[in-house]
């Protein structure tokens, strides 16, 4: 096994990766980020204290605040709470947080956003989506179609509502369309939608495809979703309990793999 111990903090040995995540309504949820730098490492590599996170918060395309985590080594744990931004995002899902992760090379970082429902304590955790900044990697863009994300299965019923969250962490607007693949293999599409820079949009499936609600309900879930955008898209799928509004899932769809 080829293990390269890290050197003391040296910018040339440190990479930066950007993650984007929606901010949940702060009236209902307490949100925070948990990260273990040692995740995916084979061994602890020393104590160079290389790892930290910087968060930038946006609402409606405007920057509203910043937060910086403590520094930890690869054996540590970073937890950053977003409670101080409670006033900015009381009820809606239009908040966006962009996280810059400063990490040692050779450590593939992952970080999870957690949210606790204030009234019931219901806990949901999901990986923030890494998007490598606004650099386009042509090969990756072509072979993974990173502007085209799929989510197999749509199970909407009287208890659960499924929604699509689109994030734009870039400084340019982009357009996108959501496609619905029905049980009979027909494809329906929304009109072209637009999202401005540094913002987030959330649509329930009911809103996106109001004419197909019954067909989806009767399909036993045998439908799929696709988000196709101009640019590489950061999208998430969310499930909520209809009665309580409690979120039971946030997870990412997959790029169309042509490899």
């Amino acid at each position: 096994m080829d293990i390269q111990p890290y050197l003391e903090y040296d910018p040339s040995k440190v990479a930066e990766l950007q993650f984007a995540a929606p901010l949940l309504p702060t009236k209902e949820y307490s949100t925070f980020v948990t990260n273990f730098p040692g995740m995916n490492c084979f061994e602890p590599y020393g104590t160079s204290g290389n790892f930290f996170l910087s968060f930038t918060f946006y609402r409606g395309g405007k920057k509203v605040g910043e937060l910086h985590s403590n520094h930890v080594d690869e054996k540590g744990c970073i937890q950053s709470f977003f409670d101080e931004f409670t006033d900015f995002f009381p009820e809606s899902f239009d908040g966006l947080v962009i996280t810059h992760y400063h990490f040692a090379l050779n450590v593939p970082p992952e970080l999870y956003v957690s949210a606790v429902h204030k009234k019931t304590g219901a806990y949901v955790a999901f990986p923030a989506s890494a998007y490598m900044g606004d650099t386009i990697y042509i090969e990756g863009h072509a072979r993974h179609l990173e502007n085209t994300m799929f989510w197999p299965g749509i199970v909407a019923n009287e208890h659960s509502q499924e929604s699509v969250i689109i994030l734009n962490p870039y400084d340019v607007p982009f357009s996108y369309q959501v496609s619905l693949f029905l049980k009979d293999r027909k494809r329906e599409q929304t009109p072209i939608k637009k999202i401005r820079p540094f913002s987030s949009q959330t649509f329930s499936i009911d809103e996106l495809f109001p004419n197909y609600r019954d067909e989806i309900l009767a399909s036993d879930g045998m439908c799929s979703l696709c988000v196709a955008a101009q640019y590489k898209v950061v999208a998430l799928i969310m499930f909520k309990n209809r009665e309580t509004g409690i979120i039971t899932t946030i997870d990412h769809p997959h790029s169309y793999g042509m490899y």
Partner: protein
Amino acid sequence: MSETTLIEAKNPACDGKGGCGAKGACGEEDSIVCYCFKLTTKMLKEAYKKHGSLKAVEAATRVGSACTGCKVILHSLFGEAPSDHYAGIPAAASGSLCLQPGHRTMKGFIIANDQLESAVYCSNAVAPQLGDCDSTTKIDWTLVDHRGTPVIMDSKTMRTNETFVFDTRKVNLPRPFIGMFFVTLDRSNVGASRFNIYWSNSKSITATHENSSSGKPNTFVPIIIDKEFLAGQNTIYSAIMNPHPKTVEFRLSVFDIDTGDEVHWESELPAYASIWINSNEHLYKPALKKYPKGRFALRVLTTSLDMHSALSNYFFVHNRKTDLWTSNHI
């Protein structure tokens, strides 16, 4: 419906009439359509005015000829079908657009007991920008139980844009059932096929994707547990699967994130076997008994540290107050 307002109307840099302020970049006209060749809507519209057809614009600007990701927008902008730059090129040379033989295997955790039922959905949809692409394929699937023994195997033809489903509520399984679901497609390109698993009870649905052997021998459940958490309404469960054809030794370590104190268990999982653990009861409680003031996390470590023997893991949180479940992969 949530916000669908045109960007121009809300961007303060815009004059509200489709033009931009001094700072430039705003609105659809200035947004980039083709990132490979840095072409904006405005540039493409001007090129179209000059050249008269999308085909001529493609020839003049090379739009749509690299990654092909903007074809859906080109179609919408000009109402003409973009050229198929892959036409006539053998699939092997063009990166398998539609069909190629192959055997990519995907795996996910299945549970059917008095807590949850499982359903697998796998899509054979084609990306809209690829046009009328026939992606018909054969799908083979196998359900193995917690010991790794196959209990159901089947295959079918999956047609283009079809969504496959397997639902534990519709098959006769011994209960309680814990196991793993394998899917193999008769094609090498993944397309849209990475499957999702939906776990549900009568009140809630939670879902995430198949967790192929992720190559991560050292993973963490990203939840911090202390005495207060354990006294609360949430129970954490861990699903651990061995997707390899060999026994894998592993260590479950509950460690204090501040002091490093830990309680650990060493065990092994036979080939294709899986386990379901009430982590509150069997992992966190013993750790908190030993270190009552601790703040703990759970690490799942493949003892050999071999990324090719890594286990696949999911975590679940059951909120007992509401009887709602959440989940995700690690």
